[in-house]
């Protein structure tokens, strides 16, 4: 059953000269309840614009986003966005515990219950013992885990993630991917994950929507039929993984074989 529907979404921006440019054009896709879906596309293709529209942070120029049968016209209660720039999104004046508690405070959870839930989530993202640390005392990967725990504390039914692992090093990235899959399995939250890394999208997802260049549209929907749980070594070495990867590369970068 679909929990998230994007229907004919377009967004244009007015530029300084007065003319408007189209960032995304007539995008439609859907995400079913409990699924892990990725959007991949080249840098600057309007992925962030699309996510901002879905999160109700900016209004689309045309089309609509429907979450759980309700049209989005402001940040929906049952959806939360995790930003790529965790260092700008975390509250520097709050500790790890304070940041995670924020997600519960805004829902009006009683203090006692909130504290328990926050500790549980901090444990789930592997940060036990760091409750009293400030974000700046943690590494980039740990900071993004705090941001994820804070988002999960809000108990969203849909979690939108905007290139969440785009600013961490490669090794940390693999760990974060596996950590995220464990969380997803444990909590059953629907996840829409945006990335420009095609292999990351395949590794994580049930389904991938491939976006083209600006103004972007969905140029391909790919079902990922790899077994779970996935493994950084064996899954990525799987023949069908390679096949998917090549197929998507051919779509997004047709000139890849001929060079530039």
């Amino acid at each position: 059953m679909s929990i998230l529907d994007v229907e004919g979404l377009s967004k244009s921006y007015r530029q300084a000269g007065g003319e408007s440019t189209l960032a995304i054009e007539n995008i439609s896709f859907q995400v079913n309840e409990g699924e892990f879906v990725s959007l991949v596309g080249p840098s600057g293709c309007g992925k962030t614009t699309l996510l901002m529209c879905m999160a109700g942070l900016i209004a689309p120029s045309a089309g609509r986003v429907v979450v759980k049968a309700a049209e989005v016209d402001g940040p929906p209660r049952n959806l939360v966005l995790v930003f790529q720039e965790y260092n700008k999104s975390l509250f520097a004046w709050r500790t790890v515990l304070g940041n995670v508690l924020f997600g519960l405070e805004v829902k009006g959870k009683p203090a006692r219950e909130a504290e328990e839930k926050a500790s549980y989530l901090i444990g789930l993202v592997g940060l036990d013992g760091f409750e009293r640390h400030y974000p700046w005392e943690l590494s980039g990967g740990m900071q993004q885990r705090v941001a994820i725990a804070r988002a999960l504390a809000y108990e969203p039914e849909v979690l939108l993630m905007d290139e969440p692992f785009g600013s961490v090093d490669a090794m940390t990235r693999l760990e974060l991917e596996d950590g995220l899959l464990r969380l997803w399995k444990e909590l059953g939250t629907t996840i829409l994950f945006v990335t420009h890394d095609i292999e990351e999208a395949i590794y994580l997802s049930d389904r991938i929507y491939v976006l083209g260049r600006r103004p972007s549209r969905v140029i391909q929907a790919v079902e990922v039929r790899l077994g779970r749980p996935r493994n950084q070594l064996t899954t990525r070495a799987d023949a069908s993984f390679m096949e998917l990867r090549n197929e998507i590369y051919k779509q997004t970068a047709p000139r890849l074989s001929s060079g530039w």
């Binding site: 930003f83 720039e85 509250f91 520097a92 004046w93 400030y134 005392e137 809000y154």
Partner: protein, 270 residues
């Protein structure tokens, strides 16, 4: 978020250890005061030796009188400072966040701000008389500017992502102002508060000198006019100590409240 240079530069770091050379220089200056006065009796009526000033400070009758004036000055200071802080922080957050509110007030702010605040003392006397309300009003007016300007600056420097984070968690505008804009702008607000601390004391003592009646400013000027110069210097010493104590108190509170921010800047993460 980025720090403006004045914010970094405004805090002269004390080493935290016992500053022997600094205290030695201070003692040397006291001795210079003492002996330059002692060896030139002609200037003693205007410039009494340090020992005589210290001696008069410890006269029970004068000490009692000074303490009364100190309480009056302190009361006006606290009233003016905290009223200014509450008003300027609230207004600054709104002006920093809502562009149209700032455009509306920008011209008024830019015209009034550069005016020396003491120039409104006569206006305040006309409108409010010569009581406490006049002195507090003048102090509020003068203190409000640095706090207001720094708060506006702080809110404007908040990264868009931080505001969007509040929105995606379902916070409305007013909650974003209180729960995100206020703490995020706190380092700037503290800078404004630190600048206003000394401004408040200047305005309280100046208005006390102008309208008279009570307070350390009044005492200093009154003793000068009665040619009790050692008493006058004693008053100056007390107001100096008051300023010093208030500053130390401010730093102590700031150190505790802004610990998160110091670590952040030390790591160069801003």
């Amino acid at each position: 978020m980025s720090l403006s240079n004045h914010e970094r530069g405004s805090e002269v770091k004390s080493s935290g250890r016992f500053n022997f050379s600094g205290l030695a220089l201070f003692a040397a200056l006291l001795l210079l005061w003492e002996f330059s006065s002692r060896f030139t009796p002609a200037i003693q009526p205007y410039f009494p030796p340090a020992s005589r000033v210290i001696h008069s400070l410890f006269q029970p009758s004068l000490a009692r009188e000074l303490f009364g004036h100190l309480l009056d000055t302190l009361g006006r200071f606290l009233g003016g400072y905290f009223l200014a802080a509450a008003m300027a922080v609230s207004l600054g957050i709104i002006l920093g966040y809502f562009r149209f509110a700032y455009s509306l007030l920008e011209v008024v702010i830019e015209l009034l701000r550069p005016m020396p605040s003491v120039a409104i003392i006569p206006v305040a006397i006309l409108l409010l008389g010569i009581g406490n309300s006049m002195m507090v009003a003048v102090t509020v007016y003068a203190c409000a500017w640095p706090i207001l300007i720094n708060t506006i600056d702080g809110v404007r420097n908040i990264d868009r992502t931080l505001i969007d984070t509040g929105r995606t968690f379902g916070l409305g505008r007013w909650k974003i102002l209180r729960r995100i804009a206020l703490p995020a702008a706190a380092p700037y607000i503290v800078t404004g508060l630190r600048i206003s601390l000394s401004i408040a004391l200047i305005l309280v003592t100046t208005s006390e000198m102008v309208v008279g009646g009570s307070g350390l400013g009044f005492f200093i000027l009154d003793e000068e006019r009665s040619l009790h110069t050692s008493n006058m210097y004693a008053g100056i010493v007390v107001v100096a100590l008051l300023g010093y104590a208030l500053n130390r108190l401010f730093i102590a509170v700031e150190t505790k409240a802004m610990a998160w921010h110091r670590g952040l800047t030390a790591r160069g993460m801003l």
